[in-house]
């Protein structure tokens, strides 16, 4: 057991020094999604490897961003989270805003947001240093990644096809994230594996 923990700690330390650009460039559909270790809003340690055998969805968030606002005000993101749970997928909401930046949350605020939004993620990961964000090259909020049960990346991009802050556009859009989640859950290829991740730029600590 010990060597495994050491391995993960080493990996976590490594990701602290990895260059954002290089890490992001390594991301490829069909290739292993980068391993990470994080801490959730309940103080629990969360490793991507813990979820081997399950579909994993990563959702970058910033509660002050109007695009995130559209997805939560409409209830569409919460619905997607519940549908993911029904399909046996793990949903990780990740907050990579730096301290003092819009969307920065501590554990208590993250839990309060989950409650007030009536959201249903498996975990909310606190990433104020942007380690996981840079590892994935997360650019916008929202930005969605879907990982297959075998650990390979299946989708990266927008929540859907219409870059707007209007709630009514959600039902007019091609639902890229939902489509990816359902395809992966069914063991099928994702129709649009790479799309534009629209939204506000992630407010990384500078």
């Amino acid at each position: 057991m010990m060597p495994k923990i050491h391995f993960w700690l080493a990996l976590a330390a490594l990701s602290f020094v990895s260059l954002p650009g290089l890490a992001a460039a390594a991301l490829k559909i069909g290739a292993p999604a980068p391993a990470f270790i994080g801490v959730d809003s309940n103080g629990q340690t969360v490793r991507l490897a813990d979820f081997k055998g399950k579909t994993v969805v990563l959702e970058w968030t910033n509660d002050g961003c109007p695009y995130v606002g559209k997805w939560y005000r409409s209830g569409a993101m919460q619905q997607l989270q519940r549908d993911a749970a029904r399909l046996g997928a793990v949903w990780l909401t990740i907050a990579s805003s730096g301290p003092g930046e819009q969307g920065y949350v501590d554990a208590a605020q993250a839990n309060a947001d989950t409650k007030s939004r009536n959201a249903d993620p498996s975990h909310v990961l606190l990433d104020p240093q942007g380690v996981i964000g840079h590892l994935y090259g997360a650019q916008t909020t929202p930005h969605i990644f879907v990982i297959r049960p075998d650990g390979n990346l299946a989708y990266m991009g927008g929540a859907d096809s219409i870059a707007s802050t209007r709630v009514e556009d959600i039902r007019k859009a091609e639902p890229y994230a939902r489509e990816a989640l359902e395809a992966v859950a069914a063991g099928k290829p994702v129709p649009h594996p790479v799309t534009r991740p629209y939204g506000c730029a992630v407010k990384y600590s500078s």
Binding site: P66, Y67, Q102, G133, G137, Q139, A163, G199, C200, K203
Partner: protein, 277 residues
Amino acid sequence: MARVLSLLLSFVAGFVGARAAYALESAPITTPHAQVKLVSDADSVEPGKQFRLGLYFELAKGWHIYWSNPGGAGQPPELDLTLPRDAKASGIAWPTPLRVPEGPVMTYSYLNEVLLAVTVTPPSGLSSFPITAKVSWLICEKICVPEEGSLRLDLPVGAASPSAEAPLFAAAEARIPRPSPYAAAVSPDATLLLTGKGLSPETVREAWFLPAAWGEIDDLAQQTLSVAEGRLSLALKPGQTFDPKAALSGVLVVKDATGKENFLTIIAPPQEGGRKS
């Protein structure tokens, strides 16, 4: 007192305006970050004669709105025009934007002010020309705010002369890209190649490419320029949706030795016969 004074000033301004070129602009939408007006380059609508309408954005310092390809974040402004029956409007003529980094991404944006113009073709029989425009835009600095509003402009019908706002259109025109006079191609690894008379180290001191669509190139990557007599190559980094079998479209900004910028519309088909040196 201040109110009385401003009333008096607008009264005087009304008289002055009536004597000079007729001011053809709507009442503005004013937000904490922008003032937006609908303006016309002609003071009257002449039946059947094309004229231009523009959305004129004046932005608070440091705030930006986005180009047709916004880059890594944001979205372009949207304009929904309602014109009299049988009048037609073109799409927006987008001036060449600036490269504005925003945290982890590169965006293609406008700072300070921009005019987004459309060309209107009025029908032949007309008695009045009311226009309404529904406008929405995302404006960002450190944070982003969606804004929107409605504008209304009633244009008189008659013999047209340039309006007081016509110079705004001329200024915007200077940054509208023109069709490139050079032969263009793109290599399988996303190097843009231009050939033709007029390309030289003197005429091309700097150059950068703005892709028409998201994902074609890595917007953050360095673009490496080399220029010889009659030839330019700009090494781009392929983006997530770059297709070596498809044409690469966008705008090339070329800065000459005097610092003057030229804006060229590029449609570069894949290089024939693979890579050549």
